[in-house]
Symmetry: C2
Subunit: 444 residues, 2 copies
């Protein structure tokens, strides 16, 4: 049983990306437009399907650095906030979470654009805070190198705090817009921020009023020590990976403890891993489908992609049958790079064996018939493995399998709710509206 | 007669802002929601009306610095690109022009977001390049002071050039997405930029493919020597003010000469001033309407707003009946500030007289019956005063007067066209699609 039995499992849908090995082939699927990653109608249709299934949110991942070896949906993709704004006005209930980096952006601009989306959507905006996985992003933003981890996460924390401060520029009621009295603004309720920090100096106030959610929902993604600390400090929800139940429970327990140690209520830090259900009519069929997806990926492609966590390091230069080369972890996805190196060292693998492992491992723990997958999700949820899941399937057909076959079972059992409970993302996720700091100061 | 008789007058609609004295009162108009500036539905409805009248584009002005004295629609407003993206998916033909500053943004981000809007809208995106009028913006972007004019415009030119370079990252045909051959990308047609300049270093390539327009349409606004030079160098269209026909012709002539001197075809640099028609059933009624709008503005409000071109300088500190104070023009809207000072010096006015002049001047040259206004627009157009106009009326009712009463006259006379001629903004404005630099290099 979850510690709060009234809580239900939260549901997000990642629209393209982070879908495991199969994602690299989605453009080959005749049911998906080959240019889906720049087709706003495709995204709108997916969001409407997720809304029809009463999902809490859709989720847009992002990157700002490509090489010719990048996955197809990285090569050409819509920018998250323009995309979500278009989706906002063709949906009514579903939350809209945009991945935006703190490493190559300014808090005034980010705070403003997210507040704008929150107004446009009537309170459905979310921000997935990342620090840019790809170190090459630096070269697109006038920098010689990516920030080191300490700077990157120091900047991230300050960035989010500034954005939060800016979102409080206008107290509730600061804009009476009283036509009879001729009063548009109550000057006493408009506040400058005057932030002076290590990375940013931001005077404020923000030029957009308090949003329907008070503040957009903050997600965070990044699993290192520094990343966890950021999440525990500022996130309403944490996007992560979950390889098995044991690791998931450990991660969630640890994050909640960290949040509590910072004086936060751990119930307001939701752990939401990406999960990739592979559903068949029977368990056997599902296992066969997973094997087919894994088998469709070429060795060379897997070798190229192995380079990504290492800053797109070129592994093709090494002898495949020599021990796994001693490549520096770099500043891109250090946590992932180190996991690969640790595994290779533990097993004493060659480069070829590492790539074959990446190709062959059954990467999803949620494979089987609808009943099997529903059971497994419920088991993880009740064991405290997660508070919600970000579904990362690769096709609308796979999404429909989940919504039409798995969700009814979970709904029947009371694990997920049947209707939206609120008009805002914050409300549906069961998160409190952060009180405006200037109002809060008045409360004894 | 215009030099090219086949050309018709281009039509833009500024949605909120730069509407002359009356704009400060729009929230008092019971026909307009008092919170229109954050109401996406209000904007969508306006854009749909403009589209029904076959306007070429809607235009969003912007700022990122407020004080309690800022006009009401500056205090709280939607961010231009999130707003236009929402409008994009509720319209089909109309162009969508976003004001974005080059002073406090990065070219990779701007290029990407505009390309995203161009894809989302199917080729209707435009960028109004500004350098940030309000010097206080600096304080929201970690800077002590606004850039001086030379730096500001140097940065602007480099910024636009980088964006244009990024938009050419993918040649046409670079993404065959050939399922049978299994070829998503033609690597030979994806190009890095490797820009190293004074203000920016940007490696590229951009992570979004060539857009339907090839490149979004570039507007530019800023009238100083430096501003004109920027416009002549990079703009497809120039947004400006037009106080009278003589000045308008001189400005247009000068800009076209500058563009020609830079080797450009002056027909591809459209001059598009903001104009504010005030229409009555009769000339007398229109003149009375203008007087009423002017009279509704308070002296104190006008005194506060006089400070804006001087960087929100506080003029209330001076003796109203002493000669106009010697305030530095500063780095905000220097061209405007200097015009005010020049006028005060020429006339020998006190501060009070300057404010009264601002309050009382008949600010629009387009006041009268529908026939009078249509005649005047045609006269300016045929005399070479402009290639298009950005209409800046303050209410949907005033907009309807223009579309329902003035436009039919101009259409009947062949001054404006009756139907969209293209599916893109570039096409409707009669502008060529810029050839991709990498393809162009192949042509002998
Ligand atoms: C589940 C997950 C999703 C992520 N999504 C993105 C993303 O969409 N864009 C991005 O630039 N970085 C993304 N990141 C990268 C992080 O922001 C971070 O830069 C990276 O994981 C390295 O930091 P770490 O070692 O703390 O994990 C993601 C990380 C995780 C764990
Ligand atoms: C017609 C016109 C419209 C403008 N619109 C904007 C705007 O929406 N946002 C902004 O920050 N600056 C705007 N500007 C300001 C310019 O970018 C520029 O910073 C300012 O005019 C001072 O430069 P200048 O002396 O070259 O005119 C506008 C200027 C003009 C002339």
């Amino acid at each position: 049983m979850p510690e709060n039995p009234r809580r239900t499992l939260k549901l997000g849908a990642v629209l393209l990306g982070v879908g495991g090995p199969g994602q690299h082939h989605t453009w080959l699927d005749p049911q998906i437009p080959a240019d889906a990653s720049v087709d706003v109608r495709w995204y709108i249709a997916r969001a409407q399907e997720a809304e029809a299934a009463r999902f809490d949110h859709v989720f847009i991942v992002d990157s700002q650095y490509i090489t010719p070896d990048s996955p197809h949906h990285y090569l050409s993709r819509l920018e998250p906030l323009t995309l979500l704004s278009a989706i906002a006005v063709h949906t009514e209930h579903i939350g809209l979470v945009a991945t935006l980096t703190t490493s190559y952006s300014e808090p005034f601009d980010v705070a403003r654009r997210l507040a704008s989306l929150d107004h446009i959507s009537g309170g459905r905006a979310g921000w997935n805070v990342v620090t840019s996985g790809d170190q090459g992003t630096a070269g697109n933003y006038s920098r010689d190198a990516h920030y080191d981890y300490a700077t990157r996460y120091g900047r991230a924390l300050e960035h989010v705090r500034v954005a939060q401060g800016l979102w409080d520029s206008y107290e509730p009621g600061a804009l009476p817009r009283d036509r009879e009295a001729g009063v548009f603004l109550d000057r006493s309720k408009l506040h400058a921020l005057n932030h002076v920090g290590e990375h940013f100096r931001v005077a404020g106030p923000l030029n957009i009023e308090r949003t329907p959610q008070g503040q957009p929902v903050i997600f965070q993604a990044g699993d290192s020590e520094e990343g966890r600390d950021l999440g525990a400090a500022v996130a309403d929800a944490i996007f992560t990976h979950a390889a098995n139940l044991e690791q998931a429970v450990a991660f969630r327990t640890e994050l909640r403890e960290r949040a509590a140690a910072k004086g936060r209520d751990p119930r307001h830090v939701l752990i939401v891993p990406g999960i990739h259900p592979i559903i068949g009519d029977t368990d056997e069929e599902a296992i066969a489908r997973q094997a087919a997806v894994l088998g469709a990926k070429s060795f060379d492609k897997a070798l190229a992609e192995l380079g990504r966590p290492f800053g797109w390091h070129d592994f093709a230069q090494y002898d495949l049958d020599a021990p796994f080369p001693d490549v520096p972890s770099g500043e891109s996805f250090r946590t992932q790079a180190e996991a690969v190196k640790r595994l290779a060292a533990e097993k004493g693998w060659t480069l070829r064996q590492v790539v074959e492992h990446q190709l062959a491992q059954g990467w999803s723990p949620f494979v089987g018939s609808p009943l099997t997958v529903a059971d497994e999700i419920q088991r993880w949820f009740e064991a405290g493995g997660f508070d919600g899941i970000n579904i990362t399937v690769n096709s609308p057909a796979d999404f429909a399998r989940f919504t039409d076959q798995v969700l009814p079972i979970l709904r029947e059992r009371g694990v997920v709710r049947s209707e939206y409970e609120s008009s805002t993302l914050r409300g549906n996720l069961g998160l409190p509206v952060p009180e405006n700091r200037h109002t809060a100061a008045l409360v004894p």
